[in-house]
């Protein structure tokens, strides 16, 4: 059979090397986040910080924290970006899931799909963001949504909606429709049958999709970059901003923000590991 053969020492070595390559960048960014400024871009590179410090992380919330190392001029705390990312990603995810669930049930149970449907849905992910960013700016300025989280969330919902719909639909498709039909015959209305039977039965799928959409929203960069003016900002945008007059690129602070940014995603990713393939492929590949 294909399975169950043991790993030969040579293959084990290959695997170990692959693992090292896979984890090294993560190791590096984590180490950098713990490095004092003198270690940031030292030559030769310093792998493990000489004196590990949390100052970089503190700087994210208190820009003066690095002054202890003689570095001044960090003017921006990352707090607004972190809060902004949380707000935009969480709300947009919840909305995308709520609307996506309704659409998924509608499509799975009541619609006839044409052979073009997958392409149409996929094309939602194919728009070059730069192409729609400009019209967004024009349209949003007309309705005062520019530089508002409402606007950013609307975009996030729209661009993740094809994803959430299609992925959730694949979960709804997995559930025999007879189960909710049974509930309808057992006395539930159509709506209640979906609410009380369909959705609870795919709650694992809903959770996975939620995490997945969260990953997408949390990672989004270009829209946030383009649409942030004064009040809106997110972590990826802030990450690109950490350059100051005196210290140049704030490697450590950037790394600290990077660590904070990737932590929830890695956790979310591990939590839905089993569904990740499905998520990444629009529900086309199941596990």
């Amino acid at each position: 059979m294909m399975q169950n053969r043991p790993l030969t020492p040579l293959l084990a070595l290959v695997l170990a090397a692959a693992l090292a390559v896979t984890l090294f960048p993560v190791f590096w960014v984590v180490m950098t986040s713990l490095k004092p400024p003198t270690d940031w871009n030292a030559a030769p590179a310093i792998w493990v910080p000489s004196e590990p410090t949390l100052a970089n992380f503190r700087t994210l919330f208190d820009p003066s924290a690095l002054e202890a190392y003689g570095l001044s001029g960090v003017s921006q705390p990352a707090t607004p970006a972190i809060l902004g990312s949380l707000l935009a990603a969480v709300l947009a995810t919840l909305l995308s899931i709520a609307i996506g669930l309704a659409s998924a049930i509608g499509l799975s149970r009541y619609a006839k799909l044409s052979k073009w449907t997958p392409l149409v849905i996929l094309s939602g992910r194919m728009f070059p963001p730069a192409a729609i960013a400009v019209p967004f700016v024009i349209m949003f300025s007309a309705v005062n949504l520019i530089d508002s989280y409402a606007g950013l969330i609307a975009i996030y919902v729209a661009v993740t909606l094809p994803f959430s719909t299609w992925m959730l639909k694949s979960f709804v498709d997995d559930l025999p429709r007879e189960i909710e039909q049974a509930a309808m015959l057992d006395g539930r209305s159509r709506l209640m049958a979906h609410l009380l039977v369909t959705i609870p039965l795919i709650k694992g799928g809903v959770f996975a999709t939620t995490m997945f959409i969260f990953i997408l929203n949390w990672s989004e960069f270009m829209f946030a970059l383009v649409l942030s003016y004064t009040s809106v900002t997110t972590i990826p945008v802030q990450l690109a901003k950490y350059v100051t007059a005196t210290a140049g690129t704030l490697y450590g602070v950037q790394a600290a923000l990077a660590v904070l940014a990737m932590l929830p995603l890695i956790l979310a990713g591990y939590a839905i590991q089993g569904h990740l393939a499905r998520g990444m492929t629009f529900g086309a590949v199941k596990r």
Partner: protein
């Protein structure tokens, strides 16, 4: 027995029901009346429109045209929950997150019945269905038969006007299937429920039905009592569909002596000749007997012997084409391939079909 119609109220009346999926017609012009308290079987091959019909009755598929009346009420447009019908799906559709108890209790809980009433009803039913031991278990830990019974329980607990059963036994082993269908029959009889059961298996239909509705390509072909369906199939296709081994269909002519098959004329006592001169003769395998060569109505050569347990199916080449006949194993065991034999037809059992329209020509008694 026409007057039965007036004495037994119809629990279900379908009138000109139609349903199409895109260009494909799933059900067309379906009109039916189901008497209360009976077991009616909807028989048809896969894709004949059985499930669509049941789902339209249940309100799960909206018909494109037609009327559905349940227990005297026009419920064509009603929501499923307002139709007072129960349905058992071919995949059973148990709530996977509820225990056996929860599944059976579900309709009662939706109807907000008092917990003690629910409990009483569920336990009572569990006893009848012999599933007391699975009440606390989730469906995935139950055996096929147990799940089947739980599904039955969930339907029975409500006492609806009509039960719709969509191939409820199809997923079970042969032995279990036979056991359960007898039980289904018993339950239906004892409580006087109205069952509308869909199946592709003619032997199941014959075994349990009071009446069989034969459905083909979305149209009703025949509505009849089981044995009559076998004895007088409405057309050639129905004749082929009902009965195993299949009926022999050979071109034949009416002759003064009786019958003419492939140029051979012979008398066939009891054969009720149709009014047409040329027709297709339908001969059930058991309506042929083998006799020594030269002594039969036509001559034949044995081409194959297929043991089927107590019976043997014998294939014989005749001038009119190959024919299959069945007979007791003891009697046929003596034959061997290549043997010359004679065939004798059981005249009263022969059927005549119009070759062109394929409709049954033989008059029904």
């Amino acid at each position: 027995m026409k007057d039965l119609q007036t004495t037994i109220p119809a629990v279900l009346r379908l009138d000109g029901l139609e349903k199409r999926f895109g260009a494909a017609e799933a059900v067309s012009d379906l009109s039916l009346e189901l008497p209360a308290g009976s077991m009616t079987v909807l028989l048809g091959a896969a894709g004949a429109g059985k499930t669509t019909t049941l789902k339209m009755i249940a309100g799960l598929e909206p018909p494109d045209a037609g009327r559905i009346e349940i227990a005297g009420l026009d419920l064509t447009e009603a929501e499923p929950k307002d139709r007072n019908v129960a349905m058992i799906f071919d995949n059973l559709a148990l709530y996977p997150n509820l225990t056996g108890y929860g599944n059976i209790a579900y309709p009662l809980r939706v109807a907000r019945q008092a917990p003690e009433v629910v409990d009483r009803k569920v336990r009572q039913l569990a006893q009848v269905l012999k599933i007391g031991h699975v009440l606390e278990r989730l469906p995935k830990t139950m055996s096929g038969g147990e799940r089947q019974r739980v599904a039955l329980g969930r339907a029975l607990v409500r006492d609806p006007a009509l039960f719709l059963l969509d191939e409820p036994l199809s997923s079970l082993d042969a032995m279990l299937r036979i056991e359960l269908r007898a039980e289904l029959r018993r339950l239906q009889r004892e409580a006087g429920h109205s069952f509308f059961l869909a199946t592709p298996d003619f032997s199941e239909a014959l075994a349990v039905a009071d009446t069989v509705v034969l459905l083909r390509a979305g149209r009703v072909v025949q509505v009849d009592a089981p044995q009559r369906l076998y004895d007088y199939p409405a057309d050639m296709e129905a004749a082929r569909f009902v009965g195993a081994p299949q009926i022999n269909l050979v071109p034949a002519r009416f002759a003064a002596e009786g019958l003419e098959l492939a140029g051979q004329r012979f008398a066939c006592p009891g054969f009720r000749a149709p009014r047409a001169a040329a027709f297709t003769l339908g001969i059930r395998p058991e309506a042929i007997s083998a006799v020594p060569a030269g002594t039969g109505m036509i001559d034949a050569t044995v081409t194959d012997l297929e043991p089927l347990g107590h019976l043997i199916a014998l294939s014989a080449a005749t001038a009119a084409g190959e024919m299959r006949l069945t007979g007791p194993a003891e009697r046929f065991a003596a034959h061997a391939e290549g043997d010359a034999i004679g065939l004798v037809f059981d005249g009263p059992a022969l059927l005549a079909f119009d070759t062109a329209t394929e409709r049954l020509l033989t008059a029904r008694p």
